[in-house]
Structure formats: C-alpha cells, structure tokens
C-alpha cells in the first residue's frame, strides 16, 4: 500500500471519478470508500467532504461508516501494512509467539504506525486460510506457516 501522498485537487479528482463510475446511490458508498482507501491508503477528511457534496450524504454518515469497518481507515497508515491473523486456529498453531516476535521486532503495538511511516501493525480477522496457520499478510502478500524465526527475514524483504 505504498502510495504517493495525494492532496487537494488530486483527491477531488479521484473522488469525482469514482462517483461518476460507480454512481450516486447510497448503496455505492462502501465500494467508493474502499476504492479511496486503496488509492490513498486511508480516507482523508478532504475525501469525506468531497464525497459528501457529490453524493448528497452528510459527512457524519460517511464518517460513521468509514470508522465502522475494519478495512477502512481514517488515519494515515505506513508504507507497508502488516496484518496478523489473530483467530483461534492460528492462535493454537503457535500464533502467539509469532505475534510477540512481530511486536518486538517492529517495536509496535497493535494499531500503531512506526515513526518513519514504514510499518503499520494490525491484527486482522480470519483470512480463511487456516490450513497453513499462523498466517499474516503484508500489503497483498500472504505468508503461511510463519514461525518466529522467519519474522526478521520476511520483514527484510520490504524497503
């Protein structure tokens, strides 16, 4: 999710194109927010204001939706987002030790972004690949059967 920082007119243009493509109906709000989140890495205040005007939906409603869903973020995230599966099958397959190692190596707690904006550490709900737990996903790369020993090597692949 390493995105260039888009501001001002770029954000306006992005939101406008999305509304044109997907439509003005309220049912399209979540798909549009997902696109914005993918493009910007998060849903900025600018984007919410613009969307509110174009779709004729109060900013309060958009904000309430954007903060409800786990995959949407209203805070900027790091260049790489690491999501660790915290579900039971991964937990009983040794996930706890991997999670501790991740926190230690990155120096981050769940939900935090590193000061250099490189990493955001999150837990995720079940990714449904429980046969190869513990599982984590970095940006769009999935890692299965992760052991604490592999953590530094895996992380070093990301610049």
């Amino acid at each position: 999710m390493s995105k260039e920082v888009k501001q001002g007119q770029d954000v306006q243009k992005l939101v406008r194109t999305l509304v044109e493509d997907l439509g003005h109906e309220k049912a399209e709000l979540i798909p549009i927010l997902q696109e914005i989140n993918d493009e910007l890495g998060y849903i900025s205040d600018d984007a919410i204001t613009e969307l509110s005007q174009l779709m004729n939906i109060p900013t309060s409603h958009i904000y309430s939706v954007a903060t409800f869903y786990r995959m949407l973020s209203t805070e900027p995230r790091g260049r790489h987002v690491l999501q660790f599966c915290e579900s039971a099958p991964c937990h009983v397959a040794g996930g706890r030790l991997v999670w501790q190692k991740l926190q230690r190596v990155l120096g981050l707690e769940n939900g935090e972004t590193s000061p250099d904006d490189k990493w955001t550490l999150l837990t995720t709900s079940c990714l449904g690949v429980c046969g190869v737990g513990p599982v984590m996903i970095i940006d769009n790369d999935l890692y299965g059967n992760v052991t604490p020993e592999q953590v530094p090597d895996i992380l070093s692949n990301y610049k």
Partner: protein, 594 residues
C-alpha cells in the same frame, strides 16, 4: 462444446508466469497451428500442477495424464511433434514430480459424502462449460420448464434442507414466506460473509464451484419470486469475489441470468457486494444494512427480512452452502437428500477442521456422524498423539465440548442441547496443552472486539466478561468471579439484539460447565494446569539434561539466563518475560515449565 482429442493444461501460477508460462502457451499455439493440430488439441490454463519452486512451467496432457515439467519455449516444437503428431510420450521431459497436496481439501476419506464439495478441484471454476458438463444448470432447466414455483418450494421443503449458516431454519419455508409476502420487488441474498475464524468451506465453494451457488440462487429466486439478487462476500476473500464476478458474467452471457432466462419468461439478475471487514455483517439484518451503504449494525426483528428486508422489501437470505445444495436436490430428488443424515438434519455438512488434529482441512460428512468419528476416523486423531481435551464447534460463538460429548451425533439439535452450536461448521480441536480459561478469554477477546456496540448487553457485558477472564489468567481471580461470570453469561444471552451477543457467552459458559476445575486452579491455587498462562508459570532449567551449550543464553531477548559453558544454566525469574524462546530452542529438552 467443441470436441478435442487431447487437452493440454499449462500451469499458470505466479512462479510459472515469471518463468515464461505465457510464452509457452503462445509457442504451443503456434506449433499446433503449424502442425495442423489446432482443432484437435486444446490448450488450457490451470493453477499449479507441480512444485513451481523446483519445476515449471509444467504441462499436463489429458486424457493421457502425462505430466511434463521444466519446459522452455525451445522444447515445444519437438514435444508437439512427438506427443501430438506421432503419439509418443516425450520421456525426456517427464521428471519425478513431487505431488502438491491441497492442504485444505484432500481426497474424500472414508465416511465422507460429498455433495457441496463434489466439483471442487475437479473443474475449472472460471469455465462455465466445465460446470455444465457435470450436469450444471440442468436443475435450473428442470425447474423452469417442468415445475411451478410452488412445486419447487415443496421439493426443497420435502428434502428437509435447513440453513447451513448455523440457524438451521428450513430453506423451503423461508422461500414460501417470501413468495407469500407483499412487495414491489423481492430480493434473493447470498450470505458469503464467512467470518467465523477457522471456517473456510464457503470460500472454497465460491472459489472452486461458483456456478453451483449461482444456480441455487436462480432456482430460489424462481421459487420465491425474486427478481434481483446479491452475493455479499467478505473483502478478506479477494479471489472468491473475482471468481464470482467472472462466473456471473459467464452465466449472463449464456442466458442463465438476466431477462427471460432460458426462454421461460422468468428474469433474475445477480450482483456481488463486498464487505469491508466487520464480523457482525454475517448477521442478516446487519448484512442488509451494509448492502444499503450503512454501518453494518443489526436491528431488532420483527419485522423479519421476509417481510421487510433490503430496502424494506421482502428478502431471502441463505448461506453459500445452502444454495449450493439446491441444484443436487432438484436433480436427484428430495427423497435422496432426506435419506442422508439424521432425524431432522438431512443431507451433509461441511466442517473446517483446525487446531491440534492430524488432518486439518475441509471435510463433508452426512449429519448424524459422531464427533469422535470426525476427529479420529476422518481427522486421523490428535497431533503428536497427545490427549484430546476439547473441541470447539460452530466458530467463536460455539461451545467447547469435552471428551464426554464425543459420541454425540452431529446435528443441529444435539449440539444445541450440549451447549454448543453447529454454526458455520468450524471445528477447533484442542489437545491437553490447551488452557481452557485462556481459550475462553481468547474467544471473548474476539467477540468483544467484533461487537458492533449497538446494544448494551453485548457491548458492555462482553467487556466485563473479558476483564474478569483476563484477571483470572493473570492470577488475580477472585472467588466470586465464577458466579459473576455465570450471571453475566445468562444476561447477555437473554438480552442481546442479535446472534453475536446471544452466542458470545457460549465459550465461557461451556468451559465453566465442563472445565470448572481449571478455573478453580487459576483462582484458588494460582496455578495454570496446562502451563499456558504466563503469570502463573515459571521457566526452569533442569540440572541433568542441560549440557551448558549456551544456546538459550545467547537467544534470550532479555538476558535472563546465565551460566558457564558446559555447566547447567540458570534462569533469573525476576528478569524472565516468559516468552518461551529458550524452551523452543533447547535441543536437550532441559527447560521445564513449572
């Protein structure tokens, strides 16, 4: 479908693409044209065939079942001439293939019966013709030409099919409610928001046999009188979303979706909607709120979705597996389906087995099979031959059942009576090393986090339970905690708005019932019998086996281990953070948890 003498499958996985699989396809095509074989030999793309790390790109030729590995573009002219023109196997390209096992879904084991999973791994999900070749859309044809909507409903009702999402409501009855409800437009919704940790059966169906779901939905829509459908799929399943979109497009191109389906006058269309990461959206009213573009919060029922659902119109919601069963019921008849299973639970159920069992993965068994048969006969028993402790059924809102419940026949009613649920078919098997208080705390952490916050019993109650469980695991439990937990469990269950809150106490309630001794050990003796809870354990090095190799001392993240080389080391309990690294690393098993 055109007839081909042979089919050549080319492995198109990321590694093979990088090694030039697409160039290989081009070269194959050119060579087949050159040899005049292009109408006899079909080239197809498939997922991985061999191990792409050591081989690839690979070809598989059917019906001969010949597997060629490590091919490059330069090999193609010779290969095509030998194999396809002269009919001789080109031995030099056959290499000892290391079979890749599907870690999630193996070949059916004894006691399995596959209805929902029968096509998975057998057909190309992105090619509608392969589904049609295995009797696909025949049931739809039968329904549209030979049966009235009411007859269709009756057939499904007679089969005894019940909702596979967990609630177990008779599917035919649901459809009849929609048929009889007043509304301008009626909706058919597929709940593909499979959020239960450990459950992935729906994902495999969506990814591996998408048309069975689409066909089931069209049949349901015809029976219930719906004109528009939605498949609500969680965003954590990007491949499933993509596969479903392609499948819908293909069905539309074949006249199986859209206006006047198969010339019957019946019209129905489908769309995929994606979730955005909220577990509660698997609840039907929350799911509909999410499709409408709201926060995915449940609302009180009545009115039920059958009267006022999506956009206040009558709406039917079934889960992926439910729809996927429908075409088979229509084709083989209600009697056949009702003949499988046990009492009021007919047919089969998929289970996703995870945890400390030898064969993890997806299985499909007839209702009525016992948990013991599932875990020991199908699952192969407990990993490392440890002792069985508990099995949690039905996902995070299910209960943990002990050894004494292993001979229960699996059906909706028996599991309910034992204090658990069938849910979406998750099975997490736990061995003797599992702390049941820690597990209860763990599940409560999940439901507490996923509680949408709308109703107080769930929002506040789950938090209070979590606080108490955390306290107990940390060694600060109080004697009155057990009674408080029981009281909270009952209150939350009775007063919550939706299934999430109602089910949230189940893991706590069931562990309190079956594993009370563990709670008591934590509270009264400040001891964790399974040696899991960090505040209640200590790591020690045993004198005999320790050779003083220094491996533990060198790897301790907080330098809590000291000792001279070749002499027994010592762990300083005041510095130790109980991370367990030393125990994992020690080659002599000299580190003990006390």
């Amino acid at each position: 479908m055109a007839y081909f003498r042979s089919h050549v499958l080319v492995s198109i996985d990321p590694v093979c693409i990088e090694k030039g699989a697409y160039d290989l396809i081009d070269a194959l095509h050119d060579e087949l044209v050159k040899q005049g074989l292009v109408d006899e030999i079909q080239v197809l793309e498939t997922s991985r065939i061999g191990d792409p790390e050591t081989q690839g790109p690979d070809l598989m030729v059917y019906p001969e079942t010949v597997h060629y590995s490590n091919l490059s573009v330069n090999d193609i002219p010779f290969l095509v001439e030998e194999h396809f023109l002269k009919g001789r196997v080109a031995e030099q390209y056959i290499r000892e293939a290391k079979a890749i096992l599907d870690e999630e879904l193996s070949a059916p084991k004894a006691k399995e019966v596959r209805i929902v999973l029968k096509n998975i791994g057998e057909i190309d999900p992105l090619n509608i013709e392969e589904y049609i070749a295995r009797d696909g859309y025949m049931a739809l044809g039968k329904v549209l030409t030979e049966m009235t909507p009411e007859e269709t409903i009756q057939e499904v009702l007679d089969s005894g099919l019940r909702g596979r999402g967990g609630a177990g409501f008779p599917t035919g009855l649901k459809w009849r409610f929609i048929r009889n409800a007043d509304g301008d437009q009626k909706f058919m919704i597929c709940n593909a928001d499979e959020g239960d940790p450990g459950a992935f059966a729906n994902r495999r169906v969506l990814e591996g046999d998408p048309h069975s779901v689409i066909e089931g939905m069209i049949i349901g829509a015809y029976a219930a009188g719906a004109s528009q459908g939605y498949i609500y799929c969680r965003a954590e399943y990007p491949i499933a979303v993509r596969t479903m979109k392609t499948a819908i497009e293909q069905a539309r191109n074949f006249g199986l979706l859209g206006e006047d389906i198969l010339g019957s006058g019946f019209s129905f269309d489908l769309e995929v909607r994606m979730g955005a990461g909220a577990f509660v959206c698997g609840e039907e009213t929350a799911l509909m709120a999410s499709i409408e573009g709201h926060r995915g919060e449940p609302r009180p029922r009545p009115p039920f979705p059958a009267q006022k659902g999506l956009w206040q119109q009558p709406s039917n919601i079934n889960n992926v597996e439910t729809y996927s069963n429908v075409p088979q019921i229509i084709l083989k008849g209600a009697e056949w389906f009702a003949g499988l299973g046990y009492k009021k639970s007919t047919g089969t159920k998929t289970f996703s087995m995870a945890g400390d069992v030898k064969n993890t993965g997806l299985i499909e068994v007839p209702f009525g099979i016992t948990l013991r048969e599932i875990i020991y006969d199908v699952g192969g028993g407990i990993k490392d031959d440890k002792a069985f402790k508990a099995v949690q059924t039905g996902g995070p809102m299910g209960g943990c059942l002990p050894e004494a419940n292993l001979d229960l026949p699996m059906d909706y009613e028996a599991l309910g009576a034992a204090g658990s649920i069938l849910g979406s078919g998750g099975l997490v098997v736990m061995d003797e090393d599992t702390c049941m208080v820690d597990i209860a705390r763990f599940f409560m952490e999940f439901t507490q986090d996923e509680s949408c916050g709308k109703c107080t019993p769930c929002r506040v109650g789950t938090r209070r339970i979590l606080e108490i469980l955390t306290r107990i695991c940390e060694g600060n439990g109080k004697p009155e905690d057990i009674d408080t937990l029981r009281h909270l469990c009952d209150e939350i269950n009775e007063n919550s708005l939706c299934g999430l809150g109602k089910g949230a106490p189940n893991p706590v309630k069931s562990t309190l019932e079956h594993f009370l001794d563990e709670y008591e050990a934590h509270i009264y003796e400040k001891r964790c019998p399974a040696k899991v809870c960090r505040n209640l354990i200590r790591f020690e090095i045993i004198d005999g086996p320790c050779t003083g190799c220094t491996l533990c001392a060198r790897n301790c993240p907080v330098d809590a281990i000291s000792g001279e080389r070749r002499k027994t080391h010592v762990i300083d309990p005041d510095i130790c953070i109980k991370c367990g690294i030393c125990e994992q690393l020690c080659p002599y098993d000299a580190i003990e948890i006390v």
